[in-house]
Symmetry: C3
Subunit: 300 residues, 3 copies
């Protein structure tokens, strides 16, 4: 599979597997291991986590599977996130939903992720959301300490707009290697407001969360979803796609920003479908037809 | 006429003539030549085109007039644009309205413009609209090739917001010498959202399209247009303007950004009226009175 | 009191006293002097003015008090502003409300402020509002002249968004040392739109005007104000605050941007209350509880 270079010694598979619902799939560790092996065999080597996924359970479930075959660790890139605090039965000490990007919280969170994932290092640690109370000096100190200790190789952000990105960057000694964004033909905000352009200007490849708009394209009766579905079906026939999710992936992959879609399914056929989309292509008429079906009006 | 320096060896006349409706004027080549001569005599040496104007016909009509007296070429600056694809009987191969800023499209479009305009070089080639699918590397390669071949002297953009401008700039080996924007006392978006400030920060003078708001100031019954017209008439009397279009031009010319209004009329008296406005002046009370009539409320 | 360093030889007290309503307090010069002395004794050494406050009267009232004990001048920092023109019986020559950031206006305004304040120098002169007609070259020339003549030590802006700030900065030979912004738990615009982040990125500490939202938190029946007041009361009890204004100040002081609240009261007990808030602290749960009460919804 095509790989995207993020730093001198780091590359991601173009398609990334997302584990945010791992706890809902009710897989045994052996079944999760099979899913991981299926991904790796398909060329998907990058796995996206966050401390909070599954109310703080998904990293651990993944780690238990990985422990069944620790030699897989060096064949994959592990991404995880920190900075959101959730109320959870698994974190009784948490009293409210808030953000925390203090040095202490970031380091503790990363160390807990290492333990949960049963690994010695995280490939990329992301700040999960822009924190209105972020002290960039604290983030810089946390990143420096984690890098020095070999606990985290690289750092990035998620859902950061340009002003948040540039503020943090101005305090860091380490580069930011990615910005994980909500990006799909359905949700165009980051295309419109300059956030995707920021990534291209900074020469960083974005990870795309919710590349299928959370399934809205399949079932929603909402006018926008219906318009988009109709266009996806039409273009899908023209380009030989097996399903409209492939058209959604192809639309993202066709963009020059080197967008890396995160596929969050526990079903191997959905994973394979995403991988198949790498072989499809789309012309500029078709790309704009899908864009305009989502916008609901012609371009100027 | 006052001239604005855009680069070491490039200056524009402060008032620019726009040809986007040339096909509607039903002029013979000789009549178009007369219009060009009238403009040049008035000091208007800069002519603004786009490949798509008149559904891909205006450049050619201008070129046919210029061919009647090719020696005029060196007395003028020709600006044209590329990057929009329109469905048109003149381009039967086009299947949809979209943007195309690929290397291949930009070069082909510029070469077609050279042919249509019957000239060996374009002074400034603009990307007509920000393209959500723009690959800045392709634009950079196209610009470099066109410059190397002597086909285009300078490059710029049109309707670019800051994030689009900075993205493209970060990939280019050549400078961007202008950003053509919709700017008028009626349409204030680029004043408000930082786009005009971008031009000043980048030390580039903007060209203003629709400086009369498409004629709304003359005839529209819309509340905003009526408010603005009333203020224009009042200030016009105070400053000795012959007509409210002169007040609109004077308002733009008074701004320190060195705005260059594009006059898109085929009537010599309208052209002359715009040129006359260069002799008018306005004080800061009057400038704000017009601004606030357009805004519909007081400044903070 | 904690002091914030703004430049090599300039620091402000963390709490600043604002004089914009000095004319409404109906104090004799002796009473105003007592107020100044009370502030200085409490560690509030920075006083915030503008030419236009009290319809051009407040600076003069302050200056008359200062003249009673000129030795106080070297114990304080005086901030004032220019660039707004108001119609006023005290300025009969003014014909309309507008902005004026011409070189001539800035210099004349600063010189008048010196006279009114009965001082030889202004510590920091701010451009009061972003001026859509601002010629940054003129501002740069005015600042350079005022600095050279020793009339103004440092310069800043007020209410500037990033594009306005970066435009002006790009023309200046002197640094901008602060951006005075409306900042409070009630009015979150500058938190949301990147303006506060700009200050942190530029390493400048912002001054906060209307830190109590103009008193809305005390009395307004508006839904947002009621929600916020309820949260302030709850957190206030938890942190041992004497009143909800202290909770508002503590919320601002807890932010890492080194926000300096301007207290605009003529009552010594309100001033003291603000100073007391420097001893309070707030945890991250409480900070977000107040934020979310103002937003009216949970964070993502």
């Amino acid at each position: 599979m095509e790989r995207i270079k993020l730093a001198e010694e780091l590359s991601f598979s173009r398609i990334i597997h997302g584990l945010w619902r791992l706890n809902e799939w009710n897989y045994s560790s052996q079944e999760t291991l099979s899913l991981i092996n299926h991904a790796l065999d398909a060329g998907i080597t990058t796995f996206d986590h966050a401390d909070i996924y599954g109310s703080y359970t998904c990293e651990e479930l993944f780690g238990q599977a990985l422990a069944l075959n620790p030699s897989l660790r060096e064949k994959m890139e592990l991404v995880t996130k920190c900075g959101i605090v959730l109320e959870s039965p698994n974190r009784p000490q948490h009293r409210s939903h808030h953000y925390n990007t203090s040095k202490e919280h970031i380091i503790k969170s990363a160390e807990q992720s290492l333990k949960n994932l049963q690994t010695d290092y995280i490939d990329v640690l992301l700040i999960h959301r822009p924190d209105p109370l972020m002290d960039p000096e604290q983030v810089a100190e946390a990143f420096a300490a984690l890098k020095k200790d070999g606990k985290v190789r690289y750092f990035g952000v998620s859902n950061f707009k340009e002003h948040q990105y540039q503020l943090l960057k101005s305090y860091l000694d380490v580069p930011l290697v990615t910005n994980q964004l909500e990006l799909s033909a359905y949700e165009l905000e980051n295309f419109d407001d300059g956030t995707l352009n920021l990534c291209m200007k900074e020469r960083i490849a974005p990870m795309a969360w919710s590349p299928l708009a959370g399934g809205k394209i399949f079932t929603s009766d909402e006018e926008k979803a219906v318009r988009l579905r109709t266009a996806l079906q039409k273009v899908g026939k023209e380009i030989g796609a097996g399903s409209i999710d492939q058209v959604m992936y192809t639309w993202l992959l066709h963009h020059p920003a080197k967008i890396m879609p995160i596929v969050g399914s526990g079903k191997t056929n959905r994973m394979d479908s995403a991988v198949q989309s790498l072989k499809l292509s789309m012309n500029v008429d078709q790309w704009f037809e899908i864009l305009q079906s989502s916008m609901g009006h012609d371009i100027p």
